[in-house]
Symmetry: C2
Subunit: 370 residues, 2 copies
């Protein structure tokens, strides 16, 4: 009864012992059809009779069949996109952003369309190298780029490749046809911040800018500045790239006699820092100093006082990114990814994500003596 072991006989390779996953050959055999029919069925293509389709699906399910990623990719190209994060700053707040972005993107991608992986690089050049490599290795079908810097090596590299890409945060122009953009419509919001503070009566206003190497913060500072121009107010700007620099710039700024009565920061962490410095100098917020955070976050309503802030809809940004990915992959002539094109009933939004109105909390008030 015990069969003679024949090592190289595939028929004998015990599925359970050898843990060999079922393939479409197994499904085809069990369903009594050819592998072509199985493939057609499992990919939901027409040309298979209803009864056959049902039987194949049932058998595949019973056998616990799952597609082998590699085999599928070998013919159809990769069904995954990657977001390569440049992670060179120890301060955590910004780093969390990509995960929230992914959460949003997944909502519009769906598990069967495309998977989105996050990778980490130490610099833009490193990220560029990884993307180049993974593109030529056909590992990913598209890439997402966030936190674009001035003269970013990643964009230069992506430009030299015919690669579908989604650029988040900046509208590059001119951009290759294979690129999609997702931008935050924060220009208006920052101009409104200026109007809000001016209307409160503030005349000496300063901004703690984000890194001058990042494109988006520079743009936001410019928007605030232009929003103040119509009030005849000149914006003072200090460098805020990293907590150390921001702290070093804030102390003399707030200790001076002509100190600003209102401060706008680019991000939430820096706004918290402003609160801290003000406290050390004995300045009461909002009575002696108003503070506006340029990037809202849960941290902004946990401080005392809570921080008036410009909304930062990261998940919304992520959803738009998901759509942009599908568009980019749909537009790519070769290497198309199944399910990239929006199905009927779905309306892909534009790549411009509205920011909404300033969230007014406790850190802003008319200046003292007004």
């Amino acid at each position: 009864m015990v069969p003679t072991p024949r090592p190289n006989d595939p028929e004998l390779s015990d599925c359970s012992t050898h843990s060999r996953r079922p393939t479409i050959v197994d499904v085809a055999r069990a369903a009594g059809v050819s592998t072509a029919v199985v493939s057609y069925t499992l990919n939901g293509r027409r040309g298979v009779s209803a009864t056959t389709r049902e039987r194949v699906l049932r058998v595949a399910d019973e056998l616990g069949w799952r597609p082998a990623t590699a085999a599928r990719s070998l013919r159809s190209g990769p069904a995954a996109a990657a977001l390569v994060v440049v992670h060179d700053q120890p301060f955590g707040t910004r780093a969390a952003f990509p995960l929230d972005l992914v959460t949003g993107a997944l909502q519009t991608l769906g598990p069967d369309t495309l998977t989105l992986a996050v990778h980490v690089a130490g610099s833009p050049a490193h990220a560029a190298q990884l993307m180049d490599r993974w593109w030529t290795e056909r590992r990913y079908a598209a890439f997402v780029v966030t936190g674009v810097r001035v003269d970013d090596a990643r964009l230069a590299t992506l430009r030299s490749l015919p690669v579908p890409a989604v650029v988040v945060g900046v509208a590059v122009d001119p951009a290759p046809a294979t690129w999609q953009h997702v931008v935050l419509d924060d220009g208006d919001a920052f101009a409104q911040v200026g109007a809000f503070l001016a209307d409160l009566g503030h005349r000496r206003i300063a901004m703690v800018a984000g890194s001058e190497h990042l494109v988006a913060p520079v743009r936001r500072a410019a928007a605030l500045e232009s929003g103040l121009v119509r009030y005849g107010i000149e914006l003072r700007t200090v460098a805020g790239d990293g907590p150390e620099r921001a702290s070093a710039a804030l102390l003399p700024l707030l200790a001076a006699a002509d100190r600003p009565t209102a401060i706008v920061t680019d991000d939430d962490a820096t706004a918290g820092l402003v609160l801290d410095v003000a406290r050390r100098l004995g300045l009461g917020v909002p009575w002696d100093l108003s503070v506006v955070a340029g990037t809202d976050s849960p941290a902004c309503y946990l401080t005392t006082p809570s921080l008036t802030a410009v909304p930062y809809p990261v998940e919304e940004l992520g959803r738009a990114t998901g759509w942009a990915l599908r568009t980019a992959l749909g537009a790519a002539a070769s290497r198309r990814v199944m399910g990239a094109e929006p199905a009927e009933g779905e309306t892909p939004p534009s790549g411009i994500v509205p920011v909404g109105r300033l969230v007014v909390r406790g850190s802003t008030a008319p200046p003292a003596g007004s």
Copy 2:
């Protein structure tokens, strides 16, 4: 002169136009050898003459050859591992942790050994589902799990599969043979925190615990408690799962007549919250209240006063995770990944990462009146 277009003739498919990447067939032809020799050479295996090896490598480089991930995976199994992050809390600090972990892991993995991708799931069950799926689809060769919860669905799922896995933060026992563990040796550190505070003269000590659903915070609280026992001090513990709950628990705690003179938190964000609540109640830190953060971070030295904190060597944890991954993949009988075994001269560290001594900053002092 113009050749008649023959659509299906592979010889005619123009490499530059069709953007067809070179394969080992191209390399073999250009080098005048067989594909087997090319494969052997490119995988650095012996049995190829020095002259041939050099020629093949040169040709491959000139042609810009890169391995096709899918084709290689089809035979050898996937050469990538995934860290599926459960990202269900809006508060950003914790979410940044996986990226730092990956940064550390990459230092011990090297670009050619194994790539580590981060994915995001909304719950442990969701993460478990993704890992199950990606394992059966042969998409990843191993998984990394962080932030293990009590009764974590991910561990149950991984246990039911013969999958190499690295569990970070908790030593599960008994664990499958394919698992590796990386734990922070923070028990001693937390016991030392107790001794430190007791030696300063504190007698009423409270801990704002992390989530009771996470394994590591529970363990840390227990370590602190046992460290205080020898001083005859009973630790008071309040729930600190999320800023809202922590804040709600802190107010009555610190407003009471028998309020603690020292507070230990599980993480850095909560410690910041303690500073804020103390300030609102008019308690001076460290004079009226000492604060120790259980997780050091850049945020801890930016506050006023800066926070005494237990070190949190995330990158070190990441490096250990990288080693653990290589071990797990080396131990896995099937599906071995090239380069998983440590080369000569490399000494894989144990999976227990030392935490080091408490970092004393400005938030701790003897209690008032001592």
